[in-house]
């Protein structure tokens, strides 16, 4: 069942042990790593699924796990935890209606277009994705409306979309600036790398100090704006913004450093030829530079997207999820519930998060990433 290496090898001193070691070498290389990953993915996943179907009950002499079926999931989506998980729904505002209409029209157009090129299971998967996205936008529109309140699900999606988008744009801008042959580049690239090295807990406390409007370093600025008594962490959107600023501050370097390396490994001839032909700087970027770094960009966005869904340290320390539950991410929500000994509910959130990340990552790979990598 194992294909041996393409090259037949004779060991210098082939005892029976040496011969066996040689024959088994492919599996000896792979097995330790595969075994560790297998144990750590399969075992917890199975057990977690089981936990998400039970409830911890105190019984005489300790506790027991009572099987409750899908109750934990139902509780999150339609039951008592709905306000914290999904949010408070309200009638959409006119702007909300417009956004929803625009999104629905876009998805419909996309589906109609793909109906001509793909068929069968692929089309079915796309239709399902379109339905899920439409539902997501509908949810966002209704919870973000004036009397609504977004739950941890919507808040996490906001963190991912805004955070990763801003990190990419900032990282790309800085990388383009640093890719020029200017004195002092080395200094800038080392400095810009620093935030990535700091523990997220530290970043969170740091930004708590910086966002303090009365004792923080920007007090003169707040005073000039008349915001001294305003507290970022007591205002829902202020607190979310603070979390996002911390996240962007920390992770822009990741985009920056890899994009800069990609820009520097790009060959200069096409750019020089285009400039000689009178292309504007924007045309050079649009038609030469950007296509060249598209595959790297796509991978970076994918990695950051996957990692961003797991955000927990920043909101936990910066705002403790507050005010109320305004800044709670899904992971933090699961942790808070676990601390309240609701193991089943916590596992159910974790499983839903896994489902969301998987759908997002797989759709991204199939619809965006393959095309971006193939284009180059």
């Amino acid at each position: 069942m194992l294909g041996a290496g393409r090259v037949r090898v004779r060991d210098a001193a082939p005892g029976w042990l040496g011969a066996w070691l040689e024959r088994a070498s492919p599996w000896i290389f792979l097995a330790p790593g595969a075994a560790i990953v297998l144990l750590f993915s399969l075992f917890p996943l199975v057990l977690s699924l089981y936990f998400s179907l039970v409830r911890l009950e105190f019984a005489p002499g300790g506790f027991r796990l009572a099987f409750v079926g899908l109750d934990n999931y139902a509780k999150l989506i339609v039951g008592v935890d709905r306000e914290e998980f999904v949010g408070v729904l309200a009638g959409p505002s006119p702007a909300g209606w417009a956004a929803w209409g625009l999104a629905a029209a876009g998805l419909g157009w996309w589906l109609a277009r793909s109906a001509r090129t793909v068929s069968g299971r692929g089309l079915l998967a796309r239709a399902a994705l379109a339905a899920v996205s439409a539902a997501g936008v509908w949810l966002a529109v209704r919870t973000l409306a004036p009397h609504g309140r977004p739950g941890s699900l919507v808040v996490t999606l906001i963190y991912v979309a805004v955070g990763v988008g801003a990190e990419y744009v900032l990282g790309l801008g800085l990388a383009l600036l640093c890719a020029q042959r200017i004195p002092g580049r080395r200094f800038f690239r080392v400095v810009f790398l620093l935030p990535m090295m700091i523990t997220p807990v530290g970043v969170a406390y740091l930004f708590r100090m910086l966002t303090d409007t009365s004792k923080g370093p920007f007090y003169p600025l707040w005073k000039a704006l008349g915001l001294v008594n305003f507290s970022w962490v007591n205002d829902p959107w202020g607190a979310r913004a603070a979390v996002l600023v911390g996240d962007i501050w920390q992770w822009t370097p990741f985009m920056f450093i890899v994009l800069l390396a990609a820009l520097e490994s790009q060959s200069t001839e096409p750019v020089e030829a285009a400039v000689a032909d009178g292309a504007s700087a924007w045309q050079v970027f649009r038609h030469i530079t950007f296509p060249a770094i598209l595959p790297v960009s796509s991978t970076l966005v994918l990695i950051r997207m996957i990692e961003a869904f797991k955000i927990v340290d920043l909101p936990n320390v910066l705002t403790s999820g507050g005010p109320g539950t305004a800044t709670e991410s899904l992971t933090l929500h699961a942790y808070v519930i676990w601390r309240a000994l609701d193991i089943g509910g916590s596992a159910a959130i974790a499983y839903l998060l896994l489902l969301i990340v998987t759908v997002a990552a797989v759709s991204y790979v199939h619809l965006v990433h393959r095309r971006a990598v193939g284009a180059a």
């Binding site: 792979l30 199975v46 090295m197 004792k215 974790a350």
Partner: protein, 339 residues
């Protein structure tokens, strides 16, 4: 500003000024928080609470009392988490790097065709063991029973298993483990270590970090190994070198930049990790991120102590990052291009 980048030399003066303005702004954005951290660590509580004071010796009289408190009064409560962080991060990164690059080399060079049936069977036996464990069967019995069950089923059905997975499938599966949110695995991991009596030990953290960082190593190093020419290895094989010998003395030396970048990357992840440490440790094995979070006492956050702790925590990684910055960019790029 960004549009001017592609124009080769000479850069117009206006663009040059704009570039430095933008880069200078971001430098301020990056460095000012770090400066504030350093300044705060030199303040007395009264200086922190009396509003913003920016420059030591001018605005306020700097004091080392916070540093003294952390290093003298709290000595062991600081040094123990520090030692834990250093040990856990280094050991787990080394193990992840060794096991991960071996697996990555295997995936880059040998064709694997494991039967899908065999994998499912293995997963099934594992599930049986888990269920048995959660029903309070002692773990040796559960492990042996599941192994016997799996082996029996394999004997009975091996001829039926036809479909095989490819290297790409294995690599994708390993890399996709990064998708798993830690919170989805942390509770079972907690239960597992509780059963093994490993809660609040460095061993538990090392095992956890190895498992969560291994996929990164496989992902980065596989592409690195694939970018190396295979001819040299073939020559060595003809000369009678063993596979391990080839890996050790022909493949690894030219991969040093990739290994360094990958090591630094996983080290930073393990060094800064918070969620697993929060669940799996309480006192003895506590790491620095938890110590920092613990300075948020009932009397409110102790900013001056916190600043000291954050500073001593980031100095080693920043020193490494500055020294190895070039490797880091290149190593990550190879992985990101093929992805």
């Amino acid at each position: 500003m960004t549009r001017r980048h592609a124009r080769p030399r000479p850069i117009p003066a206006a663009a040059r000024v704009a570039t430095y303005l933008a880069l200078g702004t971001w430098t301020f954005v990056v460095l000012f928080p770090l400066y504030w951290l350093a300044v705060t660590s030199l303040k007395n509580p009264i200086d922190v609470f009396s509003g913003p004071l920016y420059v030591p010796f001018v605005d306020f009289r700097p004091t080392l009392s916070a540093w003294r408190y952390i290093f003298v009064d709290l000595r062991n409560d600081t040094l123990r988490p520090y030692a834990n962080t250093v040990i856990v991060a280094t050991v787990s990164s080394v193990i992840a790097l060794v096991a991960g690059s071996a697996a990555a080399y295997g995936l880059a060079r040998f064709p694997y065709r494991p039967r899908v049936g065999a994998i499912l069977l293995f997963a099934g036996s594992l599930a049986v063991a888990v269920v048995a464990l959660s029903l309070n069967v002692p773990w040796p019995a559960a492990a042996l029973g599941a192994a016997a069950l799996g082996a029996g089923a394999w004997r009975a059905a091996r001829a039926r298993f036809r479909r095989a997975a490819s290297n790409e499938d294995i690599a994708f599966w390993m890399i996709s483990q990064r998708i798993l949110p830690p919170v989805a695995v942390v509770i079972p991991v907690y239960v597992l270590f509780q059963r093994l009596h490993l809660l609040d030990t460095r061993t538990a953290l090392v095992i956890t970090y190895v498992a969560s960082n291994l996929p990164i190593v496989v992902w980065l190093m596989r592409d690195y190994f694939r970018s190396l020419p295979v001819e040299l290895e073939e020559c060595a094989a003809v000369d009678g070198a063993s596979r391990y010998r080839i890996f050790w003395s022909i493949v690894l030396p030219p991969s040093a930049p990739g290994l360094v970048a990958t090591f630094l990357f996983v080290l930073v992840f393990a060094w800064n990790e918070y969620l697993f440490a929060l669940f799996l440790t309480s006192a003895r094995a506590q790491t620095l991120p938890l110590t920092i979070a613990a300075q948020n006492a009932t009397r409110g956050p102790q900013w001056w102590y916190m600043s000291v702790l954050i500073l001593i925590m980031i100095v080693p990684v920043i020193a490494m990052a500055v020294a190895l910055e070039r490797y880091m960019a290149r190593g990550l790029l190879v992985g990101a291009v093929k992805g």
